[in-house]
Amino acid sequence: MLNCRDVTARASDFIDAQLPLRARVQMRMHLLMCRVCREYVRQMALVIRSLRRLPAQDKPSGTLKRALLQALRAERP
């Protein structure tokens, strides 16, 4: 049987579907019975999905864009 510590250690691979069948079944069994681990894994999955939509902080500056446009023109005769 997996304990809660094992479940948290495997949470990332479980979410990425990287666990072999046996380990996956063990995880599901534990999650079925353990509300806390269920919430933990849900939070981890939620964080991962949120990271994917994280608004970008930095936009290219005008100077960089101008430098690149210049380089682009120079490259294309």
Partner: protein
């Protein structure tokens, strides 16, 4: 370009000493992309290709400035899930269970500026190798094979680094979202 620029800058910052150097590396990368576009063979996604150019340039620049990022999880000094170590009993059961969160979806979670800021802080606070892997995998959505390819990393190492990074980022939000959940039960 707009969407990639921030990611490239964040990645570059992992390898070099300061923002100025990172911006130079990114600019240099874009120039390399423009010049090399003709030789892009489409064996990886364009994004992966651009990231690889950036990582090569940032590494060279970092090394010149005396900075080296090691990607072996085994070489890193920290233990496994140190964030959670004291939360279990000797039998591995929860002793300090994480508080339940109110947020159910990414949209809901990202609605709060405080949470978004906390996410950015948590990523910035990660050790360099974990930050690079998390940024490529979870923020940019690259496949694990692509990330191994870009960084020259084994699959196992990559998974360990990614897991450790995710544990920390989740932990950074724990109190914030747990508190909010308690204030507004559903």
């Amino acid at each position: 370009m707009e969407s990639l620029h921030g990611a490239l800058l964040r990645l570059a910052l992992t390898f070099v000493a300061d923002r100025g150097a990172a911006e130079e590396v990114v600019q240099d990368t874009w120039l390399g992309v423009i010049r090399g576009l003709g030789s892009f063979e489409g064996r990886s996604s364009l994004k992966t290709w651009i990231f690889r150019i950036l990582v090569n340039r940032a590494r060279t620049r970092g090394a010149r400035d005396g900075r080296f990022v090691t990607f072996s999880a085994l070489e890193s000094s920290e233990g496994g899930d140190s964030e959670l170590a004291d939360r279990f009993t000797a039998q591995g059961r929860w002793q300090h269970a994480p508080p339940a969160w109110g947020a159910r979806s990414p949209e809901e979670l990202l609605l709060s500026r405080e949470t978004v800021a906390r996410l950015h802080e948590a990523i910035a606070a990660l050790p360099a190798n974990q930050r690079v892997v998390l940024t490529l995998r979870d923020v940019e959505g690259a496949e694990s094979s692509e990330v191994c390819n870009i960084l020259g990393l084994s699959e196992t190492n990559q998974r360990v680094l990614l897991h450790r990074a995710r544990v920390k980022v989740r932990a950074a939000l724990e109190d914030l979202l747990g508190r909010r959940a308690r204030r507004a039960p559903r």
